[in-house]
């Protein structure tokens, strides 16, 4: 009898793409040779707001060697359809932000393509630009509609007046977070060509093949089957490759259509950082009513986000941020008002956390402020208010299962020796002649996994597992592997469900011509939502195999034999399943009431750091974090995600400063936009908490974004613990700490 394969879920198998990635054999988009291709370059606006008066081509330049694509060449709509369709693919008239694309040039030589940009003169009629949330709200100039607002939301629970009238104390705070650049190491890039039958194909670095597909259908006015989008190996994305690839694919495909040649459009670092989306800057205001024993009685929260010049996904970033604005805490009376506004800066977009790092930053610092006001330890304050099974959220959602908030908090407090260190550091900091101050800070958060509200129902995602007639098993999904290991996790889920060893499973390249639409690779939904579909599809195939062969054959030869019957003359037997709405999940998108998310993941973090008394540099010495992700399908990859996300957030808190002036990011280089290096990054102790979710594959919940949500407020608390100063904005650069000492006239 064949030996049953060992369990495949819950073990840290090596990434299935490791051999390719470790030898240089993995092909990212710029690694493909496209014979006869043109290299494209993009002419961009140099003003923030106004009109293009005239575009002049240098008559002495050899334009006959070039192909040029302009707005007039677009066969369909000149806009990039995402949630709205306000963003032109190429602008011919109105200028809404710097770095907006005007036209595309192509030449067989990449350097020559860029050279051409110097020989096109653009004349503008400039208008005053709106560059801040405050100016936009004040309607300094009207950029959109009647009020510059992309989206406005309101959540109400209970009655604020009731809460405030019972309050022993009322605590107010205002918190600010800036832009953040995704800084994936592979820049954006796309190739495009037109097949003989007129099909437009784009191939590139992207997260969401079907988003690009949807946008291209409109731009090129083609039936869906005449557009094909293929995912190349993608060198990191973090949300940065959610919506912008539709723009680049549109540009590359337009030039391919115009010239009749294949086109490669690869951004360099400067262009990537200056032109593409960032995390939304935000201002969050809290007013909280509390009882003297530390119970939250009312939370009145206002959130403002800077959406940039076009809508992209600002409305949904705002929505997620708004839904997380209370923190994972019980409070009977809540009002959250929020809006996203337009400014003349490049559109902000998706970035790991998607609005949550902004609002959790404020919520957690507000908890610290409340604790200070009441003279209660902030850990104790969190204990008294944190969600448990049975808690009701601000939208009226009852948490029925898998609530690991307190477990994460207690584990993190214990493992980091938080309480002991607080005392030790207080002593250390009082000492004379010490070169540093020490501090430790803590934060707790939740992260709703999957699309918000009825989003998953609307997406109605599909995924499949198929048996090929030669005995191969393939997972088919549109979810892309951005480095997070989606392909490996799908392999494990399918193998485990079928009771096979992982090397018998393959994952198809996400290619809109080959895979069903599993929706976008975003929202911490890939493992939880699509992984569940893969599990269900694999179960279906398993049942069919058992019916045909009596059991699941354990090797290729056995599978091939079973395939003969199952495929019945077809090349494959495909078991495809679709997301089904759980009956007890309801969501009212008008009132913002109901189950905002199927489930939440939870995490706690302790950040242990020191501040140099001479230079005011902050060095993080140690991070301890406990994260409830339901079930780690692959613990090694899960920890990798957690450490990577945490580090990105440490950068957000301490280093990363996108210097926007006049609507431009002035430091669009890795040289002066500093992200954490090997030596900035502390050792991290990661503890996985597994409170299973009944609707996730083997109990798994979302995990990818949460690590980004909570380190920043923990850093701020730790810096306060070290220096005695509260910072209400990040990044905490050394000069900011220095300025506080000067302001307080306190000698270091």
């Amino acid at each position: 009898m064949a030996r049953l394969a060992p369990a495949q879920v819950g073990i840290g198998i090596a990434r299935t793409d490791a051999p390719q990635k470790l030898t240089g054999a993995a092909k990212y988009i710029d690694d493909y040779k496209l014979p006869g291709c043109l290299h494209a370059a993009t002419l961009r606006t140099t003003i923030a707001h106004g009109r293009i008066k005239k575009v002049t081509f240098d008559p002495s330049f050899p334009w006959y060697q070039y192909a040029v694509a302009r707005a007039a060449d677009i066969p369909g709509q000149n806009n990039v359809l995402f949630i709205e369709h306000d963003q032109p693919l190429l602008t011919e008239d109105k200028v809404m932000h710097p770095m907006q694309a005007i036209l595309i040039v192509g030449h067989p030589d990449r350097a020559q393509a860029y050279e051409a940009l110097k020989h096109i003169c653009v004349e503008y009629e400039e208008e005053e630009a709106v560059l801040s949330i405050e100016d936009s709200l004040a309607k300094k100039k009207l950029l959109r509609g009647e009020d510059n607002i992309f989206k406005k939301l309101l959540i109400e629970r209970g009655n604020l007046d009731d809460g405030f009238s019972q309050a022993d104390r009322i605590v107010e705070g205002e918190y600010r977070v800036p832009h953040q650049e995704q800084a994936y190491i592979e820049n954006h890039g796309m190739a495009a060509w037109v097949e003989k039958d007129g099909t437009i194909v784009t191939h590139g670095s992207l997260q969401c093949p079907f988003y690009v597909h949807k946008a291209l259908v409109k731009i090129f006015s083609r039936p869906p089957e005449k557009i094909r989008v293929i995912n190349a190996v993608t060198g990191g994305a973090f949300g940065g490759k959610e919506d912008y690839p539709s723009v680049i694919a549109g540009h590359a495909a337009l030039l391919a259509l115009k010239s009749g040649k294949p086109v490669k459009l690869i951004y360099d670092r400067h262009e990537d950082m200056a032109a593409t989306t960032k995390r939304h800057p935000a201002v969050v205001k809290h007013r909280t009513a509390v009882s003297k024993d530390g119970k939250l009685l009312a939370q009145d929260i206002t959130v403002f986000m800077d959406g940039g010049a076009f809508a992209t996904c600002s409305g949904v970033v705002l929505s997620r941020g708004t839904l997380h604005a209370t923190g994972p805490y019980e409070c009977p009376n809540v009002r959250v008002r929020s809006c996203a506004v337009a400014t003349n800066t490049p559109p902000n977009g998706a970035f790991r956390g998607f609005g949550v790092p902004q609002t959790i930053f404020a919520a957690e610092l507000q908890m610290e402020k409340i604790a200070t006001t009441l003279g209660i330890d902030s850990v104790e304050l969190r204990r008294r208010n944190a969600w448990k099974v049975g808690s009701i959220t601000s939208t009226g959602q009852e948490l029925k299962e898998s609530v690991g908030a307190l477990k994460c908090l207690e584990l993190c407090v214990r493992k980091s020796r938080y309480e002991k260190k607080r005392k030790e550091y207080a002593l250390w900091n009082r000492g004379k002649g010490k070169p540093t101050w020490h501090g430790i800070g803590l934060a707790l958060c939740h992260h709703g996994a999957g699309f918000t509200g009825s989003g998953e129902v609307t997406l109605a995602s599909r995924a499949a597992v198929s048996l090929t007639k030669d005995g191969g098993i393939k997972v088919l999904a549109a979810s892309t592997d951005l480095g997070q290991g989606a392909g490996t996790v799908f392999t494990q889920i399918a193998a485990h469900t079928l009771g096979l060893s992982a090397d018998l499973i393959q994952v198809e390249v996400p290619d809109t011509a080959l895979v069903p639409n599993s929706g976008p690779t975003v929202a911490s939904r890939t493992t939880m939502v699509i992984g569940r579909l893969v599990e269900r599809a694999a179960r279906q195939l398993k049942d069919e195999l058992v019916k045909t062969a009596g059991k699941v054959p354990q090797d290729r030869a056995g599978l091939k034999k079973a395939a003969r019957a199952l495929c019945a003359g077809q090349p494959t037997r495909r078991c495809e399943v679709q997301y089904e709405k759980p009956a007890d999940i309801t969501w009212d998108d008008q009132l913002y009431r109901g189950e905002a998310y199927g489930v939440f993941s939870y995490a706690a973090i302790a950040v242990d750091l020191e501040v140099d008394r001479l230079t005011y540099e902050v060095k993080v010495r140690k991070v301890t974090t406990a994260q409830d992700i339901g079930k780690a399908i692959n613990p090694a990859l899960a920890k990798g995600q957690i450490m990577g996300g945490t580090n990105q957030a440490l950068g957000y808190a301490l280093l990363e400063y996108a210097d926007f002036r006049g609507g431009w990011m002035r430091n669009s280089q890795l040289t002066n936009y500093a992200i954490p290096t090997f030596v900035d990054t502390p050792p991290m102790d990661v503890f996985l908490v597994e409170e299973p979710y009944s609707r996730g594959p083997y109990g798994a919940k979302g995990l990818g974004e949460m690590p980004m949500d909570l380190p920043a407020p923990a850093v701020v608390s730790a810096v306060h613990d070290a220096t005695g100063f509260w910072f209400h904005a990040i990044p905490i650069l050394p000069e900011k700490i220095c300025a506080e000492f000067i302001k307080a006239q306190r000698p270091p």
Binding site: R15, L22, G24, A636, L637, M643, N647, T671, T681
Partner: protein
Amino acid sequence: MIPFTVNGKKRNYQGPAFKRLLDVLREDFGLAGTKEGCGEGECGACTVLLDGKPVTSCLIPVCQVQGRKVETVESLGRPGRLNPLQKSFAEHAGAQCGFCTPGILMTASRLKKTDPEAVRLGLAGHLCRCTGYAHIVESVTKAPRSRKR
């Protein structure tokens, strides 16, 4: 014509003398394992060995390598036959998106000391946005010392 050795093979480059070594490797010699991340020597993704020392190939005009030895990630193992360092990266989840990985492997393959602190310092010229670095450090420290380059 500029002669030099790439991965043990004698090569002759013909073309502009100031073309970046990175582009010559990728475009002229088809060695696409070496990646461009920033084009200004900051991220380390394009790191290759020049006479055994790690250099960022985006900052090296090809005329500077005349008569010298260049080694790229393709000189290490192949997908079916990873070298011990590469195997260790596979086992310890040292790569995620993989874009910074070839450059890191080249520098790591020449590190003399492999205690965690030395590895962090030795690899400080490389940026990785996915891993938070710990798994990379572990991959290097746990690779067998007598690894074949």
